[in-house]
Symmetry: C2
């Protein structure tokens, strides 16, 4: 039985460890003992309390395992992945670090390490599905609309953050990079809102956020965009806060000291955005791939609508991100995929067998990417 | 020639001093020398640099004048008025202090001082006009809609504060007191929005603010309300900030110290709300008085739409507030009104001669209260 170590026992990391524990010898590692205790108590998972930032100790630890799943927070993801590659271990990374993954390409090739990165839902499955069709047709246009939302639409925000709220604000402020007519262009976050209709949800509003990451380098497609989905009205409020200066990072002098408006805003929004334990939420994604195959125009659409699992108290964000990542981990464990170097999801989707395996793996867990072809 | 001292040389105080200087011997007093210099340079106005909070010095000063105009900021208005009354001087007060003016009633009577308070536009002319009709018919319903607005509707707020922005926020947070079916009720500020149409402006949105002040004591009318007018969309943004916690007064711990959200919010809003010198703005007010006279139903409406005067660079807020106040000052100077005690505008409006005088005085300055009777 292969030995897998999961670095990070947060919401998604824990869900992945649990999923893998039914077929592998799994150890979860975290600096926080509380989440480890829960895993040890209820599941067949070993745990180790360790600060992953200590790269010496981490290297020693990694020597004992066959495969690594990197599920640490984004800000420490890149360095952790580097340590894993240096240790010569094949890895799936879902830390979504901000650095360019290809900076580690040479190192991974040199070490003979297959590093699968960004294999969640978005980034992740959206890139993976595009990769599959990219190999089979001339793709001219790729659009991805994605959001994680609470089922209850509570004013004023109608929103709960299924991951760290500070990452949501970061998404609302960072410029969005797109491919338009073969050129990379940047647009302000939140710009170009449009309404889309979804069965059983109704109308959602999509707006620009920076989500194309590796695709801007790996795909030769004239037009690519990713937009984030929210309930109508949310984005108008965020845009207003931004316009009024509440997202400013420059400090302002107040009686008790200098503060940056975004620091206060983050604190206030977190109160509203905190996803409560057991709170019903869902993930919705629509991918539209347009192009030509055999001389005919082709439009391929995937629709995902995944919900919180009350039985196991697993959030939809954990399910869709985590079970994509564990599917990828199975590809490595079963030797279905091997390619020394950095492998974003679009590379793996190009492989027929991997495509079928990853979709079936998630179908078994009730996650359906509904395909329609025109 | 009567000697008048004007306490406070802010925007409105200066406009009043200038208006009075054509007919009286006027002295302006302020702690800030800059505004005094402008008055001294361009007008026939004497100036004295004094901290009005020093009641000993203020008393000494007042001894030299026949009449006093109190135009200091609201927070110091009550104490200043008390000093003026103690000095035995007849006074017009447009400081709009938050305390109950009638607390000074006995003192004013004892000193034989006629103190006219709250004689601006609103409070001021709205109370004055109601007073006139209150004496002549059975009034069942009084409604006043009033706002000071910039001509340019710049997003996100479409608003500039013609007076201190902190007073605007105070208006947006203080509970509103109303008379409904003969009982005083309180409603949250910003509540019960409604749209109203105005010639040459279009649609404005009215919402509850606390504006009835002395009327709740002096008038026996079953239904009275005052609402503030803004461009549609403004109030929704303010309500959102309030709901999201940006008007909270409890402190929140941040890296550099504890701050109250409202302190930061005020700073940020002031940047957007600052009325620039020479910026075009206007005052709009609609008063609807319903009741019975001679057994018939009667509806009396006054409409005011006053604009910034570019020729003299006088804001509409200064014109409508200030020239109401100087009209009242003329009533005292010309012995057209005398009633030892505290006199809110509704008392003075009851007098035929005063009613005609005050309206004509403002008409001479291009301020029209257009009356229609049904």
């Amino acid at each position: 039985m292969k030995k897998i170590v999961v670095l990070g026992a947060g919401m998604v990391g824990s869900a992945m460890a649990i999923d893998l524990s039914y077929n592998y010898d799994v150890t979860s590692v975290d600096i926080n003992t509380q989440s480890l205790k829960l895993l040890e108590k209820d599941y067949n998972i070993k745990t180790i309390n360790l600060n992953v930032n200590d790269s010496g100790k981490l290297s020693d630890l990694l020597a004992n395992y066959d495969l690594v799943l990197n599920a640490v927070p984004g800000f420490m993801g890149f360095n952790t992945l580097k340590t894993i590659i240096l240790a010569g271990k094949n890895v799936v990374d879902i830390s979504f670090f901000p650095e360019d993954c290809f900076e580690l390409e040479l190192l991974a090739v040199e070490k003979g390490v297959t590093a699968i990165v960004d294999f969640g839902v978005a980034p992740g499955m959206n890139y993976f599905l595009l990769g599959y069709h990219y190999k089979r047709m001339k793709v001219n246009d790729f659009k991805c609309y994605v959001g994680g939302l609470p089922s209850a639409r509570k004013l004023p925000f109608q929103y709960k953050a299924p991951f760290s709220p500070i990452d949501v604000i970061e998404e609302y402020t960072r410029e969005a990079r797109y491919m338009r007519n073969g050129k990379i262009v940047t647009m302000p976050a939140l710009s170009e809102p449009e309404y889309l209709e979804f069965d059983s949800i109704g109308t959602l509003e999509a707006f620009n956020t920076d989500g194309l990451r590796s695709l801007l380098k790996t795909m030769k497609i004239d037009n690519m965009l990713e937009k984030t989905l929210r309930y109508p009205g949310h984005i108008e409020k965020i845009q207003f806060l931004k316009d009024a200066g509440f997202f400013d990072t420059e400090t302002i002098e107040l009686k008790n000291g200098a503060i940056s408006p975004i620091e206060l805003t983050a604190k206030l929004l977190f109160k509203h955005w905190k996803l409560e334990d057991g709170e019903d939420e869902f993930t919705v994604m629509r991918i539209i791939i347009e192009g030509e195959a055999d001389g005919a125009k082709k439009v391929i659409t995937y629709d995902l609508h995944d919900k919180y699992d009350a039985k196991t108290n697993t959030s939809s964000m954990s399910r869709t991100t985590g079970y994509a990542g564990t599917a990828a981990m199975n590809l490595l464990a079963k030797n279905l995929y091997s390619n020394p170097g950095i492998n974003p999801p679009e590379y793996i989707g190009m492989d027929d067998e991997c495509y079928a395996y990853v979709l079936n793996y998630q179908k078994d867990r009730g996650i359906y990417y509904n395909l329609s072809v025109k």
